[in-house]
């Protein structure tokens, strides 16, 4: 915690054009960066692709990129927000912190800010994080689902001072800038 504020972590793993890379951004509840780490792009060789087969994707994402990122981050957040719900389990296992997959929805806003409703799907909730946006779709692991109200309070408090999803786009732009500077070298 920093100045009594909750820290929120954002984790992404990017897989495209035959390379894998990841990034972790920890911000305070106003969106101000507290820690940022990224991994160098990993391009598996042809031999590695053959040897690992279908396990390569999982191995690189979970055992390599997430493990390196999470162990490198010095400023530990209260929770991790993810774009991909497949990473919830691995992130929780590696970081020992709750991980929530979050995505914007196209649903009409709920009545009031802070309102959180189950969707019927196990571990999936709709959260109205602020007054003037669409509700967010949150996916939690079964063991963390009972704690949804606690997480909803943290996210709603942060949404009063920042856009909850915005740091993901910042991470993407930072990674593009890194890639651009690396390609020039």
């Amino acid at each position: 915690m920093e100045h009594g504020r909750q820290l929120i972590g954002y984790l992404t793993v990017d897989t495209r054009e035959n390379y894998f890379r990841g990034a972790a951004l920890v911000t305070d509840s106003r969106g101000i960066p507290a820690d940022f780490r990224y991994t160098e792009p990993v391009r598996p060789t042809r031999l590695e692709r053959i040897l690992y087969g279908s396990a390569l994707d999982i191995y690189l994402k979970e055992d390599i990129i997430l493990d390196n990122l999470i162990s490198a981050v010095e400023t530990k957040p209260s929770l991790w927000l993810l774009e991909n719900e497949d990473l919830i389990g691995p992130v929780q296992k590696l970081s020992k912190l709750p991980a929530i997959a979050v995505e914007a929805s196209a649903r009409s806003p709920l009545e009031q800010s802070g309102q959180c409703e189950p969707t019927g799907e196990e571990g999936v909730f709709m959260l109205q994080a602020d007054n003037i946006s669409a509700p967010l779709r949150l996916t939690l692991s079964p063991e963390n689902a009972p704690k949804i109200s606690q997480f909803a309070r943290i996210l709603t408090a942060s949404a009063e001072e920042m856009e909850l999803m915005e740091p993901f786009s910042r991470v993407a732009r930072a990674l593009e800038a890194v890639l651009e500077s690396e390609s020039k070298q």
């Binding site: 894998f20 940022f36 160098e40 590695e48 806003p109 946006s133 009063e160 910042r170 890194v178």
Partner: protein
Amino acid sequence: MPSLLDEIGRKLKRVFLGRIVVRGWGELRRKTPCRTWTHFREVSVKPLRIEPRVKSALFVEWKNSRAKSAGSVLGGYAPKDFKVSGFTLGASRELGVKQYKFNIKSRARARHAMARMNGVPSTRRNRILFLKKPPKMERSTLLAVFTPIFQEKVAKSALDKASGNLLFWYDNKRVKMGDKYHLLLLRVFGGEKPLKWVWLPADKKIG
């Protein structure tokens, strides 16, 4: 020196008054016509000795233990008599299984890049679509609402015309955060400037 048979032959010739010629055996044999036939035969060459076959050789090693011949080389050859093309027996010991070193983990090293992240602007989407009751204003209309923003901490800002998003950079050296605000973009009718930016405290509801 005439042989006994030649002497007998001469005496018999004299007895029969030369009517009978007695010839020697060697003379008869010489006058026998000689006939020649051509005889074709297939010729096949077969080795008298079994071909040498290597059952083991000096250049074969497995787990640092050399495979020994133990008299298994046939034909009297020793393993050292054989050569494998491309390798001498001395160099053949270097043959072995190559180990592929997986270094993916070291290639995915995590780097610290706070300075780079601080150079990336934050963004705010235009949230006008989510206002329940868009405010009515005299001689102006609301075009965009960007919120929340800590006005005092903003170092610079820019409107991305392509996406309609507001880009801004917080000055992290400024300790004071101040209060959070909505930033409104208005179209002003009849004014000198058609567009106007208005900061509004975030605790004021705008719709």
